[in-house]
Amino acid sequence: MNKDDLDLRVKIAGVELKNPVTTASGTFGSGREFKEFIDLNALGAVTVKGVSSVPWKGNPAPRIAETYGGMLNSVGLQNPGVEEFIKNDIPFLRQYDTKIIVNIAGRTIPEYCDVAEKLSNTDIDLIELNISCPNVKEGGVAFGTDPKMAEEVTREVKRHTKKPLIVKLSPNVTDITNIAKAVIKGGADGLSLINTLIGMRIDINRRKPILANVVGGFSGPAIKPVALRMVYQVAKVVSVPIIGMGGIATGEDAIEFIMAGASGVAVGTANFRNPRATIDVLNGIKEYMIKNKIKSLKEIRGII
């Protein structure tokens, strides 16, 4: 068996990706900075950083703190707004043979709907609804931790767009399967999980939190066990496709998520340590498949 015999295709919310590897929103921009490091055509999809209806300034610095095997961020969804995004980033990404997943952010349901609506007639493939950003006071995290609100925002956004809708869930909940079921009731065509945990670091010399925002989103290899557990739990109770993420840095990591039930896998924080992480993950998946004589990922998806 060699690389050409492998069938890496996966279907996410009705859209076929040529392979399962995408990027975790907010860790890859719109891909521009990475085109110097990798061939963007190699990716199954590019998931771009969160866009909102109007430009958002984001949170004060410091926004980054390193933790043991992970990091915290409190970027706060700084972005130039959906109109700039449509003008600049869609044409850029459309040069490449890869699917475009647009992560959308909002403080209120109408704001979310506005972004979704504006993206409706553009040439993107999927919308990923971020109801789980821990760095935005209003909306953001609240939508992601209350099943009723999660269902409602999903339903409304779904009504405002023709694009297939993935909902990205927060891990900071008692029972993630409840939220998953709620957003599916609201009309989600797929799920992304997980967004960041909420974490904190203190600078004991300055006697202050490292992040200006005090707490931030916790990501990286450190959080993988939580992410994997949640993908597993959710995959057991839903039938929509899942994009798994949280600490993926190698092909082996990705295979773990696929065995737990993920269809797609997104590489996030690993991009900061290794700008070729997405390609390394893709190659690692292929090597595992060849070594274990797996022709299609279907053979191992959700095998646990």
Binding site: E33, G69, T269
Partner: protein, 257 residues
């Protein structure tokens, strides 16, 4: 394609208390680097994920080497200090925009503080005209002789008075009645802020090299921001130190923190 390179360490020696000078065989990096740019150094220890940004202190295009000068402040720089000559270190660069060298300026003033001094050395090498260098330290100075080598006039201030003027660098500049056609500066934020205020009063254009906690170093994570005024000065945006900087014009910067 660009990539993280494994560079051979040619020198890694203590030059002052806790401060090291590291020379790297640069695999072509020297050729494309400019004063004020920095590189990402990556730790071997996997629990430390994020790159450490370190400014380029000297560039030797002929020998294809670059020199870094870094202070040991935490576990990452501690790790670097233990690397032996002949071993390799992973690095990505050059990153960021360097100083904007204004060749027509006849009197250049360089103002550096502490571990902000190193990037100013390569800058000094690349300036035309007169160069007056003001350096402030807590106690021990670094790189003084190197600046002199490039024909600069060097003035030192130390907080504890153990070397040169006792006090901060701005006090020394005021005392010396400094004037010039441009200021290039790098150092702790309070110093930059104070000098910027003074430069504004004196109407001297000034460039500052800023520092911020980074994750990617390549403009992707939007982690390393500082407040920069819009062109018309009516509003401001968070700009990325790693990609839009680290050098900015001082009058663009909002110094509120």
């Amino acid at each position: 394609m660009r990539e993280i390179k494994k560079l051979i360490v040619l020198e890694n020696k203590l030059i002052s208390s806790n401060i090291y000078s590291m020379v790297l065989q640069s695999k072509g990096l020297a050729k494309i680097s400019k004063p004020g740019q920095f590189i990402n150094l990556y730790c071997r220890e996997g629990s430390r994920l994020l790159p450490r940004p370190i400014s380029i202190c000297e560039i030797n295009k002929l020998e294809d080497t670059i020199k870094l000068v870094y202070a040991v402040v935490g576990a990452g720089t501690k790790e670097f200090s233990n690397i032996k000559v002949g071993e390799k270190i992973e690095a990505l660069g050059p990153l960021g925009n360097g100083f904007i060298i204004e060749k027509d300026k006849t009197k250049n003033i360089i103002v550096g503080g502490g571990i902000g001094v190193p990037p100013l050395l390569e800058l000094a090498k690349n300036l035309n005209g007169e160069i007056e260098v003001y350096l402030g330290f807590r106690s021990k100075s670094i790189l003084i002789e190197d600046f002199k080598k490039y024909g600069a006039k060097v003035h030192v201030a130390t907080e504890d008075g153990s070397e040169g003027f006792k006090g901060n660098v701005l006090e020394l500049m005021k005392k010396n009645n400094v004037n010039g056609s441009i200021i290039y500066s790098c150092g702790p934020k309070p110093m930059l802020k104070a000098v910027a205020k003074w430069a504004k009063k004196k109407n001297i254009p000034m460039q500052v090299s800023l520092e911020e906690r980074m994750a990617c170093g390549i403009g992707v994570c939007v982690g390393c921001v500082c407040k920069i005024k819009d062109k018309n000065q009516s509003d401001w945006q968070y700009k990325k130190v790693c990609k839009d900087g680290p050098v900015f014009w001082s009058d663009e910067v909002i110094w509120d923190e």
